[in-house]
């Protein structure tokens, strides 16, 4: 590790006592690298068995890696906590400016413990931590306003991250998110509710340091090589041009685009909400995370007239990506781009996970359609596919929770369906609502077995799309490939490299970059470390009661044909058994 890069410094903050201290954790960073690897070890230390996710003892951990601030695209921050949504491992990644800000403030990780008696936001400027009274920010309708106020109150423009929660987090919606830089998120698994439970409204972090490198010549050459690969590669061009919504038409054509609560894998109005249509008619600005030249963030400019006065308009900038379009448009049968954008804008103001929100509303719509719930439960709403105005109202009820039904919805579909029924179409895996891929068995196995129950854990959709149409794989072989991918991704997310750059950071390039950062890992060492980190995560999951043996599989995935045809239950079960036994032996 480089002598002065301060990677191994961990900032500990106690919200109860309003105190902070720094410890050198070279023991963790030298072995587990950073990001997810160091994050899981800190979580094991700080979060004892059966900790209440919304109690004062649940820690919030942020971790970055050795390449952050040194090489491009090492620009993610990993958050670790116990999830109030699943009651198990909570891990969420965000870009924006967060990773560079944490590293430039002089830390490799931040651990936040305890619970404040009054609403506060934290201002971390280099070596100093300030506890600011956030009483006046609590209860604000829009998360955008909260961001603006903190931005104007604090120094460090251009060198800072501003994380904040909205009303969803304050009201402990179990899938409330934390927003950074207005449009990026620690979206999944409810970090926003953990903030809310601690009366923590936001965190601003800023700093400006140098990272002294020994081999300066090789550093500059390797940097240029990685940078050039990032700006020239076709993969990166895809993310830059249309962005992730390029996938809408592609998945729709294959029949893998979950539609109306996965009653189908094809949306007849996909053109309307495609990346192509948004780019042509709405795209207003493209943005990048800090220290990433790709710029995959796409903002739509939505111009709306006021009804009470002629020639009076407002123009809102609204971020769009593949997953929110799946969750808030195709999953809800919304065909109007403006309808999707308005619902998305509400999601952003409340700071709630777009993916879980869409899947929850989709379940509620089908439940009402089937008569499992009525207007008595929905507070007078008639949820109908495509009716975005009613969905915006329903979303406000999820956040405000005016009755027991919306209280149940605010805890996700696993919970709501355990009370009201409709489990067979409650589209959650390991308690987490599904991502937008009905591509085949790989995707669903990934959601089931991935440590975060995310499509990004093992990218099973990629095997469904690229391999399964040509070659059939045995259940065991599919399981083996998923596990291998998830283990390698532990290394990328310990280095906090954006998964979009996984093709650029090959094991060889990664090893060389790590050498510059003062780490001597061989490719074999890295693979072994990935396996160890993955096992540590599963150790935590099992400690908190998770088992692949009794995981619920929503029946619908077997009923709706996927992009590669019907998914066989027996095949999924065989693959699950294989993955389960492999993980058990690794633990």
């Amino acid at each position: 590790m480089l002598d002065d890069n301060r990677l191994s410094k961990v900032l500990y903050i106690d919200l109860t006592k309003k105190s902070y201290w720094v410890r050198d954790r070279i023991d963790l960073f030298s072995k587990y690298i950073g990001g997810t690897g160091v994050g899981i070890k800190l979580l094991q230390e700080e979060c004892p068995k059966e900790t209440d996710p919304l109690g004062k003892d649940n820690p919030i951990i942020f971790a970055v890696g050795p390449l952050t601030g040194l090489f491009p695209l090492a620009s993610k921050t990993v958050a670790m906590f116990k999830s109030p949504h699943t009651g198990n491992l909570g891990e969420s990644h965000s870009g924006g400016r967060s990773a560079i800000a944490i590293k430039m403030a002089g830390y490799g990780a931040i651990v936040i413990k305890g619970k404040s008696d009054i609403p506060v936001y934290l201002a971390i400027h280099g070596d100093h931590v300030y506890f600011r009274d956030a009483s006046a920010l609590w209860g604000m309708k829009s998360c955008f306003t909260v961001g603006r106020i903190i931005r104007e109150n604090e120094p460090g423009a251009g060198l800072r991250t501003i994380m904040r929660i909205g009303k969803a987090g304050e009201n402990l919606v179990s899938y409330a998110s934390v927003t950074t830089e207005t449009f990026r998120h620690f979206g999944r698994l409810g970090l926003g509710a953990v903030f809310g439970s601690k009366k923590l409204k936001g965190i601003i972090i800023s700093g400006k340091r140098s990272i002294k490198v020994q081999d300066k010549k090789t550093y500059k050459e390797l940097y240029s090589e990685i940078y050039k690969a990032a700006v020239d590669s076709p993969l990166m061009k895809k993310y830059h041009d249309l962005g992730t919504p390029e996938n809408i038409l592609k998945l729709n054509e294959m029949g893998g685009l979950p539609t109306r609560n996965l009653q189908k894998g094809h949306f007849e109005f996909a053109e309307n909400i495609s990346g192509e249509n948004f780019a042509e008619h709405y795209l207003g600005r493209r943005l990048a995370c800090f220290h990433c030249p790709v710029g995959c963030i796409h903002l739509a400019a939505l111009r709306e007239p006021y009804e009470d006065e002629p020639y009076f308009y407002k123009t809102s900038m609204i971020s769009y990506d593949y997953e929110p379009i799946f969750a808030l448009a195709t999953m809800l049968g919304i065909s109007e781009p403006e309808g999707f954008l308005k619902l998305m804008d509400s999601v952003e103001k409340y700071c709630i996970d777009a993916m879980s929100t869409g899947v929850v509303l989709a379940w509620a719509t089908e439940a009402q359609e089937k008569g499992i719930i009525t207007e008595k439960e929905t507070n007078g709403l008639n949820l109908k596919w495509g009716d975005y105005k009613t969905y915006i109202q329903a979303l406000s009820f999820i956040v405000e929770q005016p009755n027991t039904f919306y209280k149940a919805l605010s805890k996700g579909v696993e919970h709501a369906s355990s009370i009201y029924g409709g489990k067979e179409f409650a589209m959650a895996f390991g308690g987490n609502e599904m991502p937008g891929y009905h591509t085949g068995p790989g995707a669903h196995l990934g959601f089931l077995t991935g440590a975060r129950h995310s499509h990004l854990d093992s990218a099973g959709y990629s095997i469904d799309e690229k391999i399964l149409p040509k070659t059939s794989l045995s259940a065991e072989e599919l399981g083996r490939r998923l596990l291998e991918e998830e283990r390698w991704r532990q290394i990328l997310s310990s280095l906090v490299i954006c998964f979009f750059a996984r093709g650029i950071y090959s094991p060889q390039i990664t090893t060389n970059a790590l050498k510059i950062a003062g780490f001597s890992f061989s490719e074999e060492d890295l693979k072994e470390t990935g396996k160890v980190i993955h096992a540590e995560k599963y150790r935590f999951k099992e400690q908190e009661g998770f088992s692949l043996k009794n995981i619920r599989i929503p029946q619908r995935i077997f009923q709706t044909p996927s992009a590669v045809g019907n998914i066989e239950k027996a095949y999924i079960e065989r693959a699950l058994n294989y993955i389960n036994s492999e993980i058990s032996s690794a633990i």
Binding site: F71, Y219, H291
Partner: protein, 138 residues
């Protein structure tokens, strides 16, 4: 030659220019960068790019009490760090905020108009241009 902020509307805020500037000397991080990118009041409004515009009559040089900032042929200044006492007069005198500060050594970071940042701008925000042409300050 000098650096021109040719079109800040094309800026995506990636900060590659800032890291490039700091990396000239072979180190990572941002202490030693002489260019800044910051949002124009929230990132939905885009970015401002701030860099020395190589004044022909530089105000920073006029207020230096130790003659550490010498006007450079073709505009801008050259810093003699051994003379600099870190008083920050130059920083306050620059109306566009282009005298940056290295807190680690308490000295200004002065753009030398080398153009290394331009090589790492992925979207043509920055360009090199002949001195004497009116610069477009973003």
């Amino acid at each position: 030659m000098r650096i021109s902020v040719y079109d800040p509307q094309r800026c995506i805020g990636c900060g590659s220019c800032m890291f490039a500037c700091a990396r000239r000397a072979g180190d990572g991080g941002l202490s030693n960068t002489a260019i800044a990118v910051r949002s124009s009041g929230g990132i939905s409004k885009g970015f401002s790019v701030i860099v020395c515009r190589a004044c022909t009559d530089p105000p920073c040089s006029k207020v230096c009490p130790t003659n550490a900032l010498i006007p450079r042929k073709g505009g801008g200044v050259i810093l003699n760090p051994t003379k600099c006492i870190g008083c920050e007069n130059c920083r306050e005198a620059c109306p566009i905020g282009a005298v940056f500060w290295n807190e680690e050594i308490n000295k200004p970071v002065i753009c030398v108009q080398c153009g290394y940042c331009v090589e790492f701008c992925p979207h043509g925000v920055l360009k090199m241009e002949d001195s004497g042409v009116a610069a477009h300050v973003g």
